[in-house]
Amino acid sequence: MPLKMKKIFFSFFSSLKLTITLLIIIAVASILGTIIPQQYGGGESFRHLSPGLFKVFNSLQLFDMYHSVWFIILMGLLSLNLIVCSLDRFPASWKLFTAIPSPDRSKPFENLPPESVILTEKDRNEVIESVANILTKRYKKIRRKDADSATFFYGERGSYSNFGVYIIHLSSLIVISGAIIGSLLGFQAFVNIPEGESTNTVHLARQKGVKKLDFTVRCDKFSISFYDNGMPKEYRSNLSFIKDNNVILEGPLLVNHPITFNGIRFYQASYGSTPGGKAYITVIRENKEENTLKVKQRDSFYLKEKNTKVKILRIEKNLMSMGPAVLINIQSPEGNMQFWVFKHIDKIRERIPGLFKKVPKFNPGRFKPYYFKLDRIESNYYTGLQLSHDPGVVIVAIGSIFIILGLFITFFSSHKRLWVRVDEQDGKTKISVGARSNKDPVGLKREVEHLLSYFSSIG
């Protein structure tokens, strides 16, 4: 790159204006992302409202904004800006860190407030030694210079505070790189597994197709428990992880307690019930012979008359808001007959007088001399699992810890530099203290007061 271009490149990417502009653009874009639906197919409702706008939004990847090319470019520019700024300013900070200014500078002693000067009757050489002692106890880096008319000292502490900002910026880059590694080498997926079934195929997030695992996950059982007030207390999936027909790991999966297997973390994400389920039906013959059966959809069984077959056509958890119901078909020599068996048939009859006359199909005693009762329905659950494999997490975690460290160094430490001069004035020994700091003037003032109180105890 020619030198001039390099210069332009550097001055463009090292400007704070660019940083602020990028921060604002990213903030505004993020706001957009919280307003425009970002879920899979989130744009669908939009498509109906305005097909033209949908096309524009879709081509700008606004429905998956945070993974769009332009958002990634923005993040890339911000990272570049961070790197160039740090490279640009680091040499100066390094100089501040390593360089020890000469003790006999005159500038720090200009315009000293009167309280920063102590006059004492004591012998000058004695005072110089005491000052030297106090300073070696308090500071690590100390310089001394003896001149004819005066002795100068320089001491400093907290020079590391110049690096706080770089630690924050570098660790932000580490976090970003961890996120990139995670999105390139990791994956997010989800899968629904009905109770008792197993699978080794999961759906990748953001419609990236399916993925085959090199092991099988079986959902042995899914259960929900509730508090007394009806709020959910626990979602629990009993999972088995199977490899080569052997159960390698078994355990309950709860929200907030993921299970890791083969480097993949499994989370309890959702649940639902599969259509159908099990129904418990009691068959009564002539008001006395009772027989309770557990049936699934499409099951069939014979009644006492061997030529009469009962088939379960449908199992509904809530038919027309009248509660659980089962549709059965009875095949007999007289022909086919279909009717619904409601769990709450007595209540329904109370509400709608003459129901069976109006709707014979709701009469559970339609096939004489039998009467059918639906005791209860048990639904079949499926568990919704979220899977995640993210090798970038460790890097992001390390970056985050260093961001916190960097913040504390930046805001709660300061590079305090102190100059002390011992000379004579009107036959007395004079101690003057000058000080500079990169930030925190209050802390610097306290430091100077501390030092002065030590010095005044000399004399």
């Binding site: 704070l16 940083t19 602020i20 921060l23 604002i24 990213i26 903030a27 993020s30 706001i31 992302g33 919280t34 307003i35 639906p37 970002q38 945070y66 900002v165 996120a179 997010q188 508090y227 007030n229 709020m231 959910p232 207390k233 626990e234 979602y235 709860l254 929200v255 907030n256 307690h257 993921p258 973390r265 989370y267 309890q268 994400a269 979220q386 899977l387 995640s388 993210d390 997490v393 992001v396 975690a397 985050s400 961001i403 916190i404 913040l407 504390f408 805001f411």
Partner: protein, 279 residues
């Protein structure tokens, strides 16, 4: 009504009283009003602390024990608690009572919203599975101390702008009683720093929690995104101060804009679809 909610609704009135006296103090300059305001605020804080502890105990008595940080009611109470606590510490350290008129009203509004809004349920509720985590306490505490510090920064921003209205050689008593602009500016900066650090900690504890609950440390949920937006605003503010040396009015305005973003992160996000819906 359970005893803790009775205490907490009384605290609302106590903070109201305190805010009124702080405003009297600011307008009239009477030290007596200021001292009274501080004492009232302190009594309110103690009563509120007692109320929160009682609520914690009561939840255990109900067999669903958890820290009182689990729904909108409890978060509003906790927000005003952190704000008053932080404010009283600053008042004690800096020895100026004028700020109270700009901060304590926020604590009062938060309490009033919690106690009297029909949309806020004051009952102690059990924890739903997503909230059953050890990270709940650290996440909520860091976030709300951040919110409190940024609330105080916003109050200081308003104070700075008000002081800016001062005109002429002999300004009215009211203006003369406000602290010097340099002091207000310095205090704003310190509050923002504290708020920024807590906000960072809040985001980090939140992502650690998300990593164990939702399968990803960052999923661009609206609340996450808005906390990032807030973070970016304050980051921009601190950079312009450090690198460009921005001071005074610009900082005051940015502290108010930042706080608007905090408010949206806290409340506004509830109107957007997302995972944080229980807050």
């Amino acid at each position: 009504m359970i005893i803790n909610t009775v205490i907490l609704s009384w605290v609302t009135f106590i903070y109201f009283g305190s805010a009124v006296f702080y405003i009297f103090k600011m307008v009239t300059g009477k030290e007596f009003c200021g001292s009274l305001a501080s004492i009232i605020a302190f009594i309110g804080l103690i009563a509120q602390t007692a109320g929160l502890i009682l609520r914690w105990f009561e939840s255990y008595k109900m067999g669903i024990g958890h820290a009182p940080l689990s729904n909108l009611y409890e978060s509003l109470i906790f927000f005003s608690w952190t704000t008053v606590l932080l404010y009283l510490i600053i008042e004690w350290r800096v020895k100026t009572k004028n700020l109270g008129a700009f901060v304590v009203p926020f604590a009062f509004f938060s309490m009033a919203f919690a106690s009297f809004s029909p949309n806020v349920n004051a009952r102690i509720q059990p924890l739903i599975p997503a909230l059953q985590s050890n990270w709940l306490i650290s996440h909520v505490i860091t976030c709300f101390f951040g919110y409190a510090a940024l609330t105080i920064a916003c109050g200081l921003g308003f104070m700075y702008l008000l002081k800016g209205l001062e005109k002429g050689e002999s300004p009215r008593l009211f203006f003369r009683l406000l602290p010097d602009r340099e002091i207000v500016d310095e205090l704003t900066y310190h509050s923002v720093v504290i708020g920024f650090i807590f906000l960072t900690l809040g985001i980090i504890t939140g992502s650690v929690w998300a990593y164990s609950a939702w399968g990803s440390y960052w999923s661009w949920d609206p609340k996450e995104t808005w906390s990032l937006i807030t973070w970016l605003i304050y980051a921009a503010m601190l950079h312009s101060r450090f690198v460009r040396g921005w001071r005074g009015k610009r900082m005051a305005i940015m502290s108010i804009i930042g706080f608007a973003s905090v408010l949206f992160t806290y409340f506004g996000v509830n109107y957007l679809p997302g995972l944080h819906s229980y807050f």
